[in-house]
């Protein structure tokens, strides 16, 4: 159809015959895209007198904002905590492969490592937009080394550190540079954590509580200083106790500053958290739930031994343990598997499950104006799903970057 667009000559694509996730609901609406952003068709019609150049029939599929994974340690044999010579191509490989899981933006995560690793690896991570080459990188997630010895989980003890001597300066010296860092996980009970949390928050870095033995008031104090996230709820923290709920108590705490929300990551692979616990967390604080994979290098590979930073881990089905132990270490679940499992385990609506992997992580990072929704003017990063929430196609900036082919690849 010829169109007369006064604002731009870029082609306009109209996705029809679909249900889109907008306004927390699946609505029967068309999705309009131009120049990599979601377009407002009403303004196009009345103000520009324009119409679509291309129409795509989605055959009654679901269109959802692309998934955002804020905790992923690697995959397909690549370990983000290993300072290899071809680190850059490793990150590129993972970012390309996760497109098929529906992830359009992610935070490459580094587990507790010696300073040399941070100094070598961090400069090689840059914030960049996604595209045909792979999912967009929002910045690194540094999980450790300022965490508790008692709750180190799979993190190597000899690399744990404190910042009681020089607070923020210690942290900066350990990491080298915070330029592309988006999230830092630390244990708030550590001395001088308040200063560190305040300083990180001032720099726009999201502070997450995890691998910690903090009690509830220590956790609340951390939130008051700026912490907004909890790393893999339930795992690597004190269990919920009715007289001291610990970090888990943040979900229903009344000491959260007004206007702020505490988010919490959940690995819903069916192993890290019992479905009943998942349901308890979800029902207590549904709007804060952020699905993460916490995937490790072995994700996407065959069972067997793989590395995770300084450790060796063993994969058997969906379970990953430190080799020779029963300590869980990361997961090999993919983001779309987590979404499906979450929906099944909680019986929640499709919209809720999809938002836990898109809207909520975007809100956590304060980028919901551009990512995580299908609102007008936001980035056109979206997925075409079938009714069982399997990804059929992935789009970044309005361009198809992955498609399920007939052989089911």
């Amino acid at each position: 159809m010829p169109s007369n667009k006064s604002v731009s000559d870029a082609p306009i694509v109209q996705f029809t015959n679909c249900r889109i996730l907008r306004g927390h609901q699946l609505q029967r609406e068309d999705l309009w895209v131009r120049e990599g952003k979601i377009l407002n068709p009403e303004k196009l019609f009345f103000d520009e007198k324009g119409s679509a150049d291309v129409q795509v029939d989605c055959k009654d599929s679901i269109i959802t904002p692309g998934f955002i994974d804020v905790q992923i340690n690697g995959g397909f044999g690549v370990d983000f905590s290993l300072a290899t010579d071809d680190f850059k191509s490793g990150i590129d490989l993972v970012s390309q492969k996760i497109l098929s899981h529906g992830v359009t933006s992610f935070c490459p995560t580094l587990v507790t490592s010696p300073p040399s690793v941070y100094h070598q690896v961090l400069p090689q991570i840059s914030v960049r937009n996604g595209g045909a080459h792979g999912a967009g990188i929002l910045g690194a997630h540094l999980e450790g080394p300022f965490i508790s010895k008692e709750k180190k989980g799979a993190h190597p003890e000899h690399c744990l550190r404190t910042f009681e001597a020089g607070a923020f300066q210690d942290l900066l010296a350990t990491y080298g540079s915070l330029d592309c860092v988006r999230i830092v996980t630390l244990a708030p009970e550590m001395r001088r954590s308040s200063e560190v949390i305040r300083e990180l928050t001032k720099r726009g870095i999201c502070v997450s509580l995890g691998h910690s033995v903090a009690n509830l008031s220590q956790a609340e104090e951390a939130v008051q200083h700026g912490a907004t996230f909890i790393t893999h709820l339930f795992n690597a923290m004190l269990p919920f106790h009715h007289r001291d709920p610990g970090i888990v108590g943040l979900l229903t705490s009344d000491k959260i500053p007004a206007g702020r929300r505490v988010f919490y990551g959940m690995i819903s692979d069916g192993i890290h958290t019992n479905p009943a616990a998942l349901r308890i967390a979800h029902r207590a604080h549904p709007k804060g739930l952020v699905l993460v994979t916490d995937a490790i290098a072995g994700m996407g590979l065959a069972p067997g031994r793989h590395t995770l930073g300084q450790q060796v881990v063993e994969i058997d089905g969906l379970n990953t343990y430190i080799a020779g132990t029963k300590t869980l270490s990361g997961s090999v679940a993919t983001m779309d598997t987590c979404v499906r499992h979450f929906q099944e385990a909680t019986g929640c609506s499709v919209e809720t499950a999809l938002e836990a992997a898109s809207l909520h992580p975007a809100q956590l990072l304060g980028i919901e104006r551009k990512k995580g929704t299908l609102n007008y003017d936001s980035d056109a990063d979206f997925l075409i799903l079938n009714d069982n929430l399997y990804v059929q196609a992935t789009y970044i900036a309005g361009k198809e970057v992955w498609r399920q082919d007939a052989s089911g690849m």
Binding site: D30, L44, F45, F46, K49
Partner: protein
Amino acid sequence: MKLIILDNYSQASEWAAKYIRNRIVHFGPGPGRFFTLGLPTGLPRDHPESYHSFMWNNFFKHIDILPENVHILDGNAPDLQAECDAFEEKIKAAGGIELFVGGIGPDGHIAFNEPGSSLVSRTRVKTLAMDTILANARFFDGDLSKVPTMALTVGVGTVMDAREVMILITGAHKAFALYKAIEDGVNHMWTVSAFQQHPNTVFVCDEDATLELKVKTVKYFKGLMLVHNKLVEPLYSMKEMGAERSQSKKPYSD
């Protein structure tokens, strides 16, 4: 006139929709041959419940109309009277209105031609009656001071120039207006009554809207439903009409 009486709001809406569809299909529109549909105007552009949003969400986004073929009176135009005059010109340029579809207010007005409007009026700026302002208050959170007091509207005369007029009237609160429109005389206090002098009018209503009519009137027109239903059954489509173009009959008229 044809008075079509259906059981309820949904059925009345459906009958009207089918009728309009068949009319468009029989007309056989195409490039250069426009089926010009007239619809009454509404609220100012900037309002969140604006007429533009309403029309987009309820009509335009569901059909393949080209944006340049949509003409809406602009209440924000710098020279309102010029805007109205230009609108009349656009109607002429499109070959006149083929079918005008509208409703009536409880005070019997068509479009915003409030009681006292000239029955030969054209598109112009109109001051709204208190009844209308009250009715529109729901779009402005019930705050009367926020409701616009003026509106641009097509005139009674403008609508009378349409080749066919369809008026939709549902609900008991419209019953008295319907009675005044079709059983009383032509009167500028009930501007819809002007259509008694139009050769091709269809009134589509539900049972509740007939509450003020004479039993005789209602029985007469209900008796004609068998014939009137031939206008909506069979339901035609553009694809079929291509083949049947030569055999198409002129739809029944009074």
